[in-house]
Symmetry: C2
Subunit: 493 residues, 2 copies
């Protein structure tokens, strides 16, 4: 019989013996007066003191204590606990469908066809949806999305991704062998960082990240025990990047670590490439820019770019689909990358299928084209409208200043907090903006993320709020934020 | 504008400046006579010498060089290259659907309904499938499987998992808060190992794994720079576990590391719990056994158990669904675990839905029950038949000895190799069984995994072969293996 994949058929008698030998280690027997039973105690193998110390350093604000409290409050409301509000509004995370955004019909039709190919016989589906499904299924082992794919991802999907990138970047070439399908963008980013990290003390790998940052970076760097090197975006210039600040950060970092990567750059995330709302703004991929800068950059700069199915007009977070493109990567390192991703076998195949549909969406003339474009445009213009609304209303509040939301799905307004509130927060050992957001949650049911979870200039305070709630709900939310901020300011002045 | 999630709207002009400052570093300019162009060279940031050394140590035989070569050969065949065979038969990995196993109709119906809820209006689906889909959708944000779930997994799915475990283990209680949904079993196993690792030198965490092992363990331990502690299963006793060997391994390990976990035990994988074929054999979960051993074990031994949608009668590898149950885990550590899994946001929601269907399959009286049972039984009895067939035919080959395949999907026969072959392999710097399997692939198109990829007693050689190919193809495969082995033995004697 084969044990190589560790099931424990007939493990029973053996386990008894293991239990009574290698694994025992009872450190004491107490007596429980209530139950009149012996209570056995044993030193745990795994405690907060013996566990992996790098894991302890990990923090992830987007799903941190404030969100856990929000979930509790929802339960309390269900149980009928009286609150000054009737529902929790979650504006903490870019989870579009949870906020009522509708999925793209075409994508879901193809996914249903891939899940249950019997439906290919059904007349209710348009031909282009059926063709996409057939093509994906033919590329799957046994024509089933239940089979493992190649670890790098289904080949025809990687080819579609490459064609999509070439077209998006105005013809800059893209090699399907440089495409790795991933479990959302996060998976690709963590994998790239993992490759980079080495050295000890002053030679330890440093990674430069913008502040405010997305907490995945700080979390991954903490877990990898890499050095997080901060550079600050310029809030007064609409969160733009100053090269002088980059150079300051870099030269300081060189004193205590070995800065190797710049995020976004060696890691460039493009998950919001369709979420550009501001007049005169458009998306430029770093890869395209490198090619415009000439061969001394496009042939030499090592760049990894990431995209996913979770944002833009799709908002399909639950499928955990994504891809990564690497250029100018050393072939030996690329072989190591391919080996590394093979350990997790393959990204979820439904997510790979969805990623394929995103890069190979309905074309003019295909039966689903008009409806696809209608849905896509409606979603993006609604987001643009909510981006504008958020900035306008927040800026009417004394003590809140909000930059225009030019892209993505979030506002990151600066809030001025009274000294008294800051003192009280510090007395509680809380970051002042955490104290502020926690109070807002308890009093209004609105769940925001404190700026401290993303990083901010010393002495400044912010919160992050998504623009995703439905317009009517967003208006209520913004009105409540306004009311709360005024009340809070008054209370602590 | 908000940079917190790192898209690079309007990044273009800034990037030019970054490019010309922080990021430049051209180390030389050469001249390409062919193109009459200047070729810029630049020292790579990321090379085999500067990359993460622990990643270099990772090996994963199930998708190693032999499988990569198999993929090449398939391409060559497509391109019309003449070979002594017309197709590659992959018996290297437990990928049931790729080998023609059909998905369970009920599961795929519910997944289609969840993907495209419009189908709930369709009469072609049975009511119980529709009810399962409605229940899952109601538990999703915005009633969409495209929304993120809680990081620990959808609550009602975790409740179903807990009920399933209680029923499977004859009433031993299971708390849904101890259930974590995962991206396949691998994800859960790696996460648990990650929690465990700490210390340096002789205090470095050691993890005891059975040899032969599943290469995920050695790969994960290498990446975590933990110490792999081997204990050998007894091939002569049908790969059973000898406690004396466990104790030998443990006491030796204590000299050079801090052995903390026993796999399977603190990590107990149960992905084959339905794949038990041998007379008088049945599946016993370690948790149930601990309870039978009494409170001094069931209240103290820290145990993590894993299951997935990939094996058993489902074979749905591509969905990457799974769960982990932890018992007796220190509450502080559990909080750290919950925090850690929140960084990857959530497991793929379609995989969570599928896991729910596995633990909450059709009940007697429900419309889909009979067909579900028919499909389930057919798949499992076919596997049992192929397990028997594999053992019987392999044992007719002089120089091959194969234990009964009592469970799972694999045989791990011992092969005797001629001295001359062993010498030639070593001259090529190859493991002798790698040399053997590579030759078999080139000559027969059969893709097996060398025993050295799983570990084996010094001086013994094996290969791992799945029992998954369709019966007719399996017979051809076994005949070819027989023929090859005889030819190989002759050639090198």
């Amino acid at each position: 019989r084969v044990f190589t994949e560790r099931e424990n058929v007939r493990g029973c008698p053996r386990t008894y013996r293991i239990g009574s030998s290698a694994l025992s280690g009872i450190s004491g027997v107490a007596h429980d007066k209530m139950t009149d039973k012996a209570v056995f105690t044993r030193d745990k193998v795994l405690t907060i003191h013996t566990m992996n110390p790098t894991v302890k350093k990990v923090e992830y604000a987007v799903r941190g204590p404030i969100v856990q409290r929000a979930v509790q409050i929802e339960k309390e409301l269900k149980e009928g606990v009286k609150k000054p509000f009737t529902e929790v509004i979650k504006a903490n995370i870019g989870d579009a469908h949870a906020m009522g955004q509708q999925p793209i019909t075409f994508f879901r039709q193809v996914l249903a066809l891939c899940s249950y190919p019997e439906l290919l016989k059904d007349n209710m589906f348009p031909e282009d949806a059926k063709n996409r499904a057939r093509r994906i299924l033919q590329a799957c082992g046994g024509s089933s999305i239940g089979a493992y794919s190649a670890s790098q991802g289904i080949e025809c999907v990687r080819q579609d991704v490459a064609r999509y990138i070439e077209c998006r970047d105005g013809g800059v070439p893209c090699d399907p062998d440089n495409i790795y399908l991933t479990t959302g963008a996060s998976d690709g980013i963590v994998t790239m960082l993992k490759l980079l990290v080495c050295g000890e003390g002053p030679t330890r790998t440093g990674v430069m990240i913008s502040i405010p940052q997305y907490p995945l970076y700080s979390a991954a760097l903490a877990e990898l025990a890499a050095v997080q090197v901060n550079y600050y975006l310029n809030e007064d210039k609409c969160w733009s990047m100053d090269v002088s600040e980059l150079e300051r950060s870099l030269s300081e970092a060189r004193k205590y670590c070995n800065p190797k990567a710049l995020c976004p750059n060696l890691c460039s995330c493009q998950v919001y490439q369709d979420n550009v709302y501001a007049e005169g703004c458009q998306f430029h991929s770093f890869k395209k820019v490198l090619f415009e800068m000439g061969p001394q950059y496009s042939n030499t700069v090592e760049l990894a770019s990431f995209h996913s199915t979770s944002k833009c007009y799709m908002g399909e977070c639950g499928f955990r689909g994504g891809y990564m493109e690497v250029i100018n990567m050393d072939p030996e390192v690329k072989a190591q990358l391919t080996k590394l991703v093979s350990v997790r076998l393959c990204p979820p195949v439904p997510g790979q299928a969805l990623m394929d549909l995103v890069v190979n969406s309905p074309k003019p003339g295909e039966p689903s084209y008009n409806n696809f474009m209608k849905e896509r445009t409606a979603t993006l213009s609604l987001l643009a409208e909510k981006a504008k609304l958020t900035k306008e209303i927040l800026n009417t509040v004394p003590g809140i200043t909000c930059n225009p939301v030019q892209g993505a799905m979030y506002s990151f307004p600066k809030i001025s907090l009274p000294e008294k509130a800051i003192k009280e927060a510090k007395a509680l050992g809380q970051a002042p903006d955490m104290f502020y957001c926690m109070k807002m949650l308890e009093e209004t049911g609105i769940c925001l993320v404190p700026g401290s979870g993303f990083g901010q200039k010393e002495g400044t305070y912010h919160f992050r709020m998504t623009i995703l709630p439905p317009t009517d709900k967003l208006k209520i939310l913004l009105a409540k934020v306004k009311e709360f901020h005024q009340k809070f300011t008054k209370q602590y002045s």
